[in-house]
Amino acid sequence: MSGFARDVALLAIGVVVLGAVPLLSPPDYAMHVLITMVLTALAGTGWAMMGRFGLVSFGHGAFLGAAAYTMALLWNEAGLTPWLGIPAGILVAVAIGMLLAYPAFRLRVVGHYFALVTLAAGEIVRILIVALRDHTGGSLGMTPVQAPPGQQFLAMQFDKTGFWWVALIAWAIGLLAWRLLDRSMSSKALAAISEDEDAAASIGIRVTREKMKVTVISVALAALAGALTAQYRQYLNPESLAGLGISLQIVFGAIAGGMYAAFGPTIGAIITIGLDEALRIGFGTDFTGGAPLVYGLLLVLFMLFMPRGIAGLFERRARPATAKPAAERATA
């Protein structure tokens, strides 16, 4: 209990300290990178909520996109403020997530199959966004309508400082959700489920219910990240907010940082965004393709040599990366 209170206090202090960064009047570019990192960290944190319990989704991009486009369309076509549009977008994303997850969990679609189902769902959302081009601008993307003067706050169209604060708070909500889940019984139940679903069910764990719970949290966080990213960039496009590419990037960030620790995905976001920017600045357009190359290579190396990510280095007890012994138990 005190540990939890201490963590929350630390988080609050962290948010306040980081929130003061704009006081140093850093260059716009630095703020841009920081905001991108924090929003990416939030998406990764959301993904890792499920990922760490063996629920590997390759379709989380869909939830970013569903929320972002819902919010933007409500603003552009109905004039609904993003302050309400974002919750609405999250609801839409969560509804999609539940619609997909419930039958998947009930019918015990697990492992590779679950990953492929989420991949298909992500593609569906991406294609639908493209297909609804009359509203969404298709693959060319769309921009939210600029707010009339004096209504920037209502339109959630801030300068970088304002967005930095919004992003920080959203990120803190993500970490808080992680911490809250960790101290609940659900966390233990989910750990048991990921070890052995049948055994977990046999000791009275309500498998589907627990999985649904973590899915809803995970989707909601990813959706929040998606809506805020769109709102920050003031530009939405299906490739960067839905589909396989962005879904894999979320996964990779979370894995590189370490998906078993609350701060892992944040570390991962710092690495991936930092790498993207460093390569872009260092090599410019001569090295187009360099970023994914280095990125992919790092990912392979992480899997081979450091499967628990950077955060894994700081774990007190080194747990083996392989969950199950390869040799099956023989009846002697």
């Binding site: 990922g51 063996g54 590997v56 997909l100 039958p103 998947a104 019918l107 015990r108 679609v109 492992g111 590779h112 199959y113 990953a115 492929l116 189902v117 991949l119 298909a120 769902a121 593609e123 569906i124 294609i127 639908l128 493209v130 297909a131 589909g243 396989l244 590419g245 894999l248 996964v251 990779f252 894995i255 090295f287 187009t288 393709g289 360099g290 970023a291 994914p292 190359l293 280095v294 990125y295 992919g296 290579l297 790092l298 990912l299 392979v300 992480f302 899997m303 081979l304 499967p307 990366a321 392989t322 969950a323 199950k324 390869a326 099956e328």
Partner: protein, 287 residues
Amino acid sequence: MNLLDPFFLEALVNGILLGGVFALPALGLNLVFGVVDVVWLCYAELVMVGMYAVWFLHTQAGWPLPLAFVACLPIVAALGMLLHLLVVRPLLTSPPINQVLATGGVLFVLQGAATLVFSTEFRSLGVDMPPMEVGEVFVSGTKLAAFCAALLGAAVLWAFLKFTYVGTAIRAIARDREVMPLMGVDPRRIYLIASAVGGALAGLAACLLVVQLDVHPFVGLSFGPITFMICVMGGLGNMLGGFLAAFLMGLIISVGGFWGTTEFSYVVAFAFFILVMFIRPKGLFAR
């Protein structure tokens, strides 16, 4: 509606032709997944590399097209073996997610490398065969040739799996890997062979696709997801099922595009896949 509407018939024929092209990479993926039990998330990118190989050898190095095709197979087969040796083999005892993510890393590596070497420009082979007219239905000669080559490739694969010792062992190991050493089979060797065959199939698929599609570093994303779905829908280790699933998906996409838009047809195809996973997770044609 009129089922003999030539445009509808054309959609049907195109669906079947499309299915033939989907079938090859799905078979290759199925083979690797079934034998090694690792999903090559970068499979479509292996095809992409093969497409570049053909394009480069033909238009840049000036090789005759048939020779470029022939060279493409061993190139991608070698890439498959390399992928197995460097990435998959060290991860054989790791959790599946680590394996999938590592091959996903290779996906980015290949996309990045292709961008570096060839830029993001769309490259075209610039060959086309004249369309053929059967009754009132026009059929693209290129697509028909690709379809026939796909059938031939599948037939060769089938014969290999059915009539050779290694092929039989490949089919056996998909179901029971622990017992294989007792048969004198070194599973590691079979994995390597399956990876080479899977790569060669990606190479063949590349030959068939490069005459129909422009190649660019992200071309894999356009047929990769559907390939995975066909592979799983067909059922692991079930060659015939994979083939039927490929035709089914080809038909859904082509006929769906006839009634609605292409996008609509892909949505239907993916939704159909999700439904299949819910109802028959072991594949549509699981025994």
